[in-house]
Structures are given as structure tokens and as C-alpha cells.
């Protein structure tokens, strides 16, 4: 918590703000949706970690006897393959469970790359508002002018299809968002007295940027990170769907939907289930992001 925020807290709430984590948790947990979102995410993480144990079958080995078997509750299905099989006889449930690994991986890497570079650029743009700042912002504007998915597609076309290239491409398209958010937050903080005080005390620019200003900008950056995490999963899935992302037999949910158009009539589970998995995971992160935003918004502090 910044000093200025701490000062405006009234006498009665001093005890809580002595421990900002506790206070944050109190606001956060009051938002039922946010807690549900967090729960969902924990579930996904657990599935990803224990995927090998929890999955009934291997996600990549196909069973020649069982092409396009429907889920267990439908006619023709069995509990051997609870959610049915795909066109080449792989178990849907196992593929879906293993897909959690890829989705989480995508989210983490994309946010890590675009987050670190974006925040660094944003801080620079905020601190050096002259030529460097303007240059950075112009650059980001240009990147933003190309619709993100199109840019990602073009980048992948250059780099070649594949999960890693897809992640790099998506990271690049997210840079402007982190840059903007960081720059806006940094600019707001720069006008405050504690920054001037630090400067007067002889703090160098780098120290000022990273140790003084950045910690106080974290709230909107964290919210942006959460939202970018979920959008990254969606974009990577889109690339997978277009056969530009993860390649078969990788059990990435978007890739699983790549050829699903053909099965729209015959095998609805091949089309519906991977999408539901994406929806569930992304929804959990978005709810979490919303909850975080509400909990971290200083204006809502009572």
C-alpha cells in the first residue's frame, strides 16, 4: 500500500491495514464470484499437475476399435471412455485433462514474456516522456492498429506453425496493453510527493523506477495480467483451431477443435467438450480478474 493511501484510512480501520494482505483478502473473499474463480483455477492447476494420474488413458495413444465413441451416457457409449473418443480413437477425457497443462503453460509464458517486456517499456515510456516515450507509444499504437489475431497469424506465418511460435506471436500482440497500463499507472504515481521525496534523497532513475514507483503500480498490472492470461488461452486456441498453433497430436484444446467442423453432425462431443473446457478455464480467470480488480481498486475502499 502506498503511503498516501494509508493516510486516508480512518482511525477505526487501522488494525486491518497494518496487514495489507489480510485486508486485501477480506475484500476479495467478500466477492463470491472471485472466490469461485479462484477455486476453479486451483482445480485446473491440480488437474494439470496430476494429469497423468487422473487420466484414465493416454492422451495420444489411439484405440483402433473405438473411433468416435459417444460419451458414456449416450447410446453406444461406455464408461471405459467416459466422455467418448475422437476421430482416431483417443480418449476425450484424458485429452481434456492433459489440455490443462498446455493452457496453463500458454497463459504463464505469454504473460511472463509480454508482461516483463511490456512493463519495462511502460516504465521507460512513463519516466522518459520525451523522445523515447513518444517513440515507444507510437510503436505500440502501430502494433495496436493491426487486429491482434491477424498480427499473431501473420507472425506465425513467418515463424512457422507450432505451439512455441504461437506463444511468441501472441506475446508480441499483448505488449501494447501492458505498456499502456504501466505507463498510465507510472505517470499517475510520478506526480505524487513520495516520488519527489525519493528523488531528492538521491535515488537513481533505475532504482526509482523499479523499487519506488513500480510496486505502487502493481494493482492495475496484476489485473491486466489476469485478463491477458485468459485472453492468451483464447488466442492460442484460435491459432490451434486454424492449425497454426499447437500441432496434432498435442492435446491442446484449440487444436482439438481444428478438424471438428466435420463432426458437427455426427459427433457433437468432439466439438462441444474442448470448447467447454476452454470456456470454463477462461471464465474462471476472468472472474478472478474481476474480483481482483474490485479488491484492488482504491476507490472502493470503505
Amino acid at each position: 500500500m502506498s503511503q498516501s493511501e494509508a493516510e486516508t484510512v480512518d482511525a477505526g480501520a487501522v488494525a486491518a491495514t497494518d496487514r495489507p494482505l489480510l485486508e486485501f483478502w477480506r475484500y476479495f473473499s467478500a466477492n463470491r464470484g472471485a472466490v469461485i474463480g479462484l477455486g476453479g483455477i486451483i482445480l485446473v492447476v491440480l488437474l494439470a499437475i496430476f494429469a497423468d494420474i487422473v487420466s484414465p488413458h493416454s492422451p495420444t495413444i489411439s484405440d483402433a476399435q473405438s473411433f468416435l465413441k459417444p460419451p458414456a451416457w449416450e447410446e453406444g457409449g461406455s464408461w471405459v471412455y467416459p466422455l467418448g473418443t475422437d476421430a482416431i480413437g483417443r480418449d476425450m477425457l484424458s485429452r481434456l485433462i492433459h489440455g490443462t497443462r498446455f493452457s496453463l503453460l500458454i497463459g504463464c509464458i505469454v504473460v511472463a514474456i509480454s508482461g516483463t517486456i511490456g512493463v519495462a517499456l511502460g516504465l521507460c515510456a512513463g519516466f522518459f516522456q520525451g523522445a523515447p516515450g513518444i517513440l515507444i507509444m507510437r510503436l505500440m499504437d502501430i502494433v495496436l492498429t493491426i487486429p491482434p489475431l491477424l498480427l499473431a497469424i501473420v507472425l506465425v506465418a513467418i515463424l512457422g506453425p507450432g505451439l512455441i511460435n504461437a506463444m511468441i506471436a501472441v506475446s508480441i500482440t499483448y505488449l501494447p496493453y501492458f505498456v499502456r497500463v504501466t505507463r498510465a499507472a507510472a505517470l499517475a504515481e510520478l506526480t505524487k510527493d513520495y516520488v519527489t521525496a525519493s528523488r531528492v534523497n538521491g535515488a537513481g532513475t533505475l532504482r526509482l523506477m523499479v523499487m519506488t514507483v513500480l510496486p505502487n503500480c502493481m494493482a492495475p498490472i496484476i489485473v491486466q495480467a489476469t485478463l491477458s492470461f485468459s485472453t492468451a488461452i483464447l488466442d492460442a486456441a484460435a491459432l490451434g483451431f486454424l492449425s497454426l498453433g499447437a500441432q496434432p497430436p498435442t492435446p491442446e484444446w484449440g487444436t482439438m477443435l481444428a478438424d471438428s467442423r466435420d463432426f458437427v453432425l455426427r459427433a457433437w462431443w468432439v466439438v462441444t467438450l474442448p470448447g467447454l473446457a476452454i470456456l470454463g478455464t477462461v471464465l474462471a480467470f476472468n472472474i478472478l480478474g474481476d474480483g481482483l480488480r474490485d479488491a484492488l481498486d482504491p476507490r472502493l475502499k470503505r
Binding site: 507510437r138 510503436l139 499504437d141 502501430i142 502494433v143 495496436l144 492498429t145 493491426i146 487486429p147 491482434p148 489475431l149 491477424l150 497469424i153 501473420v154 507472425l155 506465418a157 513467418i158 512457422g160 485468459s230 483464447l234 486456441a237 484460435a238 483451431f241 486454424l242 497454426l244 484449440g254 477443435l257 471438428s260 467442423r261 458437427v264 453432425l265 457433437w268 466439438v271 462441444t272 474442448p274 470448447g275 476452454i278 470456456l279 477462461v282 471464465l283 476472468n286 472472474i287 474481476d290
Partner: protein, 337 residues
Amino acid sequence: MLRFLLVRVSLIIPTFIGITLLAFILVHSVPGDPIQVLAGEHGISAERHAELLKSYGLDQPLPVQYWRYVEHVLDGDLGRSLITHAPVIEEFGQLFPATIELSIAAILFAVVFGLPAGIVAAVRRNTILDHGVMGAALTGYSMPIFWWGLLLIILFSNTLGWTPVSGRIDVAFDVEPVTGFLLIDSLLSDDPGAFQSALSHLILPAVVLGTIPLAVIARMTRSSMLEVLGEDYIRTARAKGLAPLRVVGIHALRNALIPVITVIGLQIGYLFAGAILTETIFSWPGVGKWLIDSINRRDYPVLQGGVLLIGTVVMVVNLIVDMLYGLINPRIRHKRA
């Protein structure tokens, strides 16, 4: 106000240069020799190779190539498709109206349903209605758009049989392309069934493409309205004894819409990205599908031209939105010089 406009317009130039640079760099980064690609399977002799290299200007240093490229662009020449050999700009011109039609339908859908939803959610804050609308909006933009499209196709086209699966209009109809907008053209044609066919083909893709903008607009409207409703001047309006409908519909809305307009404008950029996926699913013959095909077929002039053109369109739209914002935000409009 004028100053605001001039500043905005002048920013276009560096952005446009940036886009051309981007388009140029992107395509020239593609690994592989473009001449080989042109030659395809037939192979090519070393002399012919050198000849073509020269005629395409590919033997010049990059900055020169870039300059040539910009010259061509300003002339309106974006090259020719490697597959169809038609000028890129011509193909774009033929296909763009389809995308525009789809986008306009999508944004109309998003605004017509999203704005009222957001307003109602704000006014009936923390009720079931509010939570319901916001929950739906949240789900809306957590969905992969291509999956949503497939789902709706399963539901409405296959199961219920209400809408067709793909294309812009039934092949049975032959409509004269006057404007390029099938809805208008089919009305102009003498065939009564044509319009209905065009409309029924447009509905599902428009809904799919417009779902995320709808969700974003609903959420944005709600939060903007909530913020405005907490302002002092709303209390004053109520203190004047004005009817609640007037307080919300005129005093609050007028101010709440300002940031929402910006958001609606920004959705335009999204619509192109979303159109790529939507057009692919519904086989909608627009620019998005054209671009995807060009990647799969390695039709690089098309890719380059497409990126440039779309970037330019988005840039212009953003400018218009910016100017509109300046117009409706009273503080900018009436800035004392």
C-alpha cells in the same frame, strides 16, 4: 476543438508509415525465396531466377525495396495475387463489402442489445437481473468465438433447421452486385426471396461475431452508468424533482455514453480479428477468409496487402472515433483556447 482534430489527424502519418513498414518487414521476414515460391514445383533455371529477381526488384538493398514498395502503395498498387493473378487491391475491394456488412450487422446487434443490458444492470444494481446480465456478458467473452459459432450452427442450423450453414445467400439466387452489400442489393433485385435468403444467412454469423462486442459493451455501459449515477449532478437532478426516467435516460446516459462510444469504436478493430474466425466457420466470402486462405496458400502479396489495408482501415476508424469522442465530450469541445 480544431487543435484537437488537427493533432489527431497529423498522428495518422507516422502511424501509416509504421504500418507500411510493418507490412513490408513482416512479409520479407518469411523464410524462403519468393521466386522459388513463384516457380513452385517446376523448378527454375539460374538465369531465369536472376532475371525474375531483377524484374521484381528483389536484388536491390532492402531500404530501396521499401521505398519502391511505398511508392507503389501510394499509387494504389499492392501487387498481384500469386494464385489468381488479380490485383490485390481489386480482390480486396470485391471482398471487403462482405466483411463490412457482417461487421455492421454484428456491431448493431452488440449495441442494440448491449447498451440497454448495461443500463438495466446498472439501474437494478445487485439484483438478479444485474447478476444475470453480467454473468451472461462474462460468459460471452470467455468463449472461443469459433466454438460458439460451431455450437450455434449445431443448434440452429442442424437441430432446428432455422438458419443455413454457410455462405451469404442461397446459390439459387443470382443477385446483381450493385453496392456489394447483399442486403441492399437483394432488396434492389426483383427477386422477393433473395432478401430473405440474404438476411437468414447473415443472422447467425452476425450474432457470433457480435457476441464479444455485446459483452464488452454491456459491461462497459454498466460500469460507466454506475460511476455516473454516483455523481453529484445526478443527486442535483433528483433534488429538482425530475422523473427517474429523465434522470437516468438524459442526465446519466448522456455522460455515461462518452466512454462507451470509445469502447464501441475500439471494437471495430476487434471485429476484423473476429471476422477471420467467423468467416472461416461460416464460409463467409469476406476479407478474413481471404487472408487465412492466403496464408495456407503462401500467397504473400495478398497477405502483405491485406495486412496493410486492414491496418489502414482500423487506423481511419480509430481516428473517426477519436474525433467523435472529442465532439461529444463537452470538456474537450468547449475548451477555451
